[in-house]
Symmetry: C2
Subunit: 399 residues, 2 copies
């Protein structure tokens, strides 16, 4: 996460180095910089890279994700990065400082691509994003992705659409040269942020069943179909309370929750992970971008009858100073009136609305409920009809 680039890194590094010591007091042995090469499920043993074998009664897989690579010549060159681990962040930080970096290229326009384009641009580095599609962040509908694109361009981030990357070569004016279907572009660093997949090498090797998402199957207790083997975080699936399906949404807050649930159950407690509703957000420059639940395509795919409406309104009461525009799109089921999803974009107030609507999705509320929710009104915080009410009622009338 780009937010950790900066002075925070020093603190985190100290924290990580202290981890084994910290846990020793509690009787837990933590090994860092240690790679597990193989799990022998029958013997109940884990084999480390150095050949050591460690027995286990309970095994927890928290293997996370692996960044995808486009698979082009030169993607292993010095100065080409992916961003997954803490070490990746340290390497990028050092590279930006030491090269020094005057221009950066980011390939991909998802969360990592957006957050890193802000982080790098804010260092005064010329920044160019290459994206295979026409609009960034495809979790959001085009009306809102366009707002994100405008925000990038407003901050002098160059956004190249419909880009196919062909190769990375040595550059002339800069360290590297990216060859694309649109010609060549040079830069001092290239960040590959084209996506991730759940890291399930060990799980596969153990013969654990994967779900349709390619992530490890778990139950509500975070246990895999194999007794005593748990999985948590980005490498496993979560129950989506709106779609009723098991999904793989790799996000840090979900991983935290699942870890705690697994730990409680392993420790002899009884706890379930109640699932997710797909809430997510990011900031890019002055823009809050947030979404929750299903978009229309996902809703239709699981058999809902989606209707939707995009409403533009005010983040706070219309006449108040500091007011900014806020866009809110709601998706609901025509058959039942149930809220299915929401997306929001604005300089302020987008995440706040999406959190309230995430709670509404969690509880299965309908547009009738959402249109009359009792929210804490005061002019510095909303109109007496909040955009949530206005949007829900507008969509309700459409049904």
């Amino acid at each position: 996460m780009p937010y950790y680039i900066g002075d925070v890194i020093k603190e985190e590094k100290k924290l990580i180095a202290r981890t084994p010591e910290k846990f020793r007091e509690t009787g837990v042995e933590v090994r860092i910089d240690t790679r597990v090469e193989e799990v022998d499920g029958k013997a109940g043993e884990v084999r480390l890279a150095d050949g050591t074998r460690l027995p286990y009664d309970i095994l927890v897989l928290g293997t996370g994700t692996t960044p995808l690579l486009p698979g082009i010549p030169g993607e292993d060159r010095e100065g080409v990065f992916t961003l997954k681990t803490f070490t990746d962040a340290l390497r990028i930080k050092a590279w930006l400082r030491e090269v020094p970096c005057r221009k950066a290229i980011i390939i991909g326009a998802g969360f990592i691509g957006m957050e890193m384009s802000e982080a790098i641009r804010n260092l005064g580095i010329e920044t160019q994003v290459f994206h295979r599609g026409t609009l960034p962040v495809n979790r959001w509908d085009p009306e809102f992705s366009q707002v994100v694109l405008d925000e990038l361009r407003r901050h002098q981030v160059d956004f190249v659409t419909d880009a196919e990357t062909k190769a990375i070569e040595a550059g002339k004016d800069h360290r590297l040269r990216l060859v694309t279907n649109h010609g060549e572009a040079e830069a001092d660093m290239i960040l590959m942020a084209v996506g991730i997949r759940p890291e399930v090498t060990l799980a596969k090797q153990m013969g654990l069943p994967l779900g349709e998402t390619g992530a490890i199957r778990v139950n509500f207790s975070q246990m895999t179909p194999r007794e005593g083997v748990y999985a948590v975080g980005d490498c496993c699936e979560s129950f989506h309370r709106v779609s009723g399906h098991w999904v793989n949404i790799p996000l840090g807050d979900i991983a935290n929750k699942q870890g705690r649930v697994a730990g409680r159950n392993i420790g002899g407690g009884a706890m379930i992970f109640p699932g997710i509703v797909g809430a997510q957000s990011f900031q890019v420059f002055d823009l809050e971008v947030a979404a929750t639940g299903l978009d229309e395509r996902a809703a239709a795919a699981v058999g809902f009858h989606p209707v939707s409406m995009l409403s533009w309104g005010n983040a706070i009461a219309g006449p108040m100073p500091g007011n900014t525009k806020l866009g809110l799109k709601l998706i609901a089921d025509r058959a039942t009136g149930r809220l299915l999803g929401a997306q929001a974009v604005g300089e302020a107030g987008a995440v706040s609305r999406i959190n309230t609507l995430s709670c509404a999705l969690w509880a299965g509320l309908t547009l009738d409920d959402v249109g009359y929710l009792d929210l804490a009104y005061a002019p510095p915080f909303s109109g007496s009809w909040d955009l949530i009410h206005i949007a829900a009622q507008a969509l309700r009338r459409q049904i």
Copy 2:
């Protein structure tokens, strides 16, 4: 509302003057500056101050509230104000400008007292608040009222506690002199903000039954027990979805919703007002102050078994720049784990959390739900465990 003092007033005045004209096009006659003296329910007639009698089939009472006065000598002096109507705001604004006002006294420390102390102080006027209690805003528990008090004092608002007002006399250095149990204080204006009561004169005169709150009884369609007579807004009761009782919470957003429900039903539609959960908020200087649901006393009074816990945490992720402290107190029922109420105070993020928790109250969620709600996490907006999660889990462990 102090927020409308300023240039906005001109716009509102124009708007009000245009109201009759605007409605005439739709076939609706709107009379402004018109006082109804009496309602003859049997004849189905309304009698105006000038003696005119107007027949009706349907009657809607939207009589609002009347500000309370302490009942002390001199409270009718020029320069002593209450703040309810738009005209009150215009009068205060003119007085502040024309006297001119160097010092103001506010009697009372509720919403109006707090918002007006900010509005007046921000004009550079010396401001003094007299309050009969020791802490402002008694809707909030003392831990949070103290934060509000600190904020007032940080902005040089003088707050006088345990004050009994005795009389208002002509002043020497300023226009007016307030006599209290703590001696005398002079000011150029005095605002009485000691509370309000539902304005039910007409309702009583018609023989409409009032609830225990003193406000007009209505059903879910906003109709009073008398067929064809409706009541909406601050003069009537609302169903509180958490307490299961009918309450009178005079707030503009509730009034708006009830008005729409009554209108829809009168117009031949079918709609109910689904009730409230007690969400409210105000801003005072740099502080967001918000609450929802029941406090412990109100919860115990209706037979819940309240437990509560106050958690201090971060408005956004701990290491992020711009982070500020946020306090969140949750109240829940020990018997069922159900969330009953919440209070929050902070420079940012308080209203946002209270809105999400208001939705949780609306849906009757438990602490187990709230502790694992799927919220839109990103470091500029929250920690990976939001304070909502932390507070709910901490309280859950106490049960």
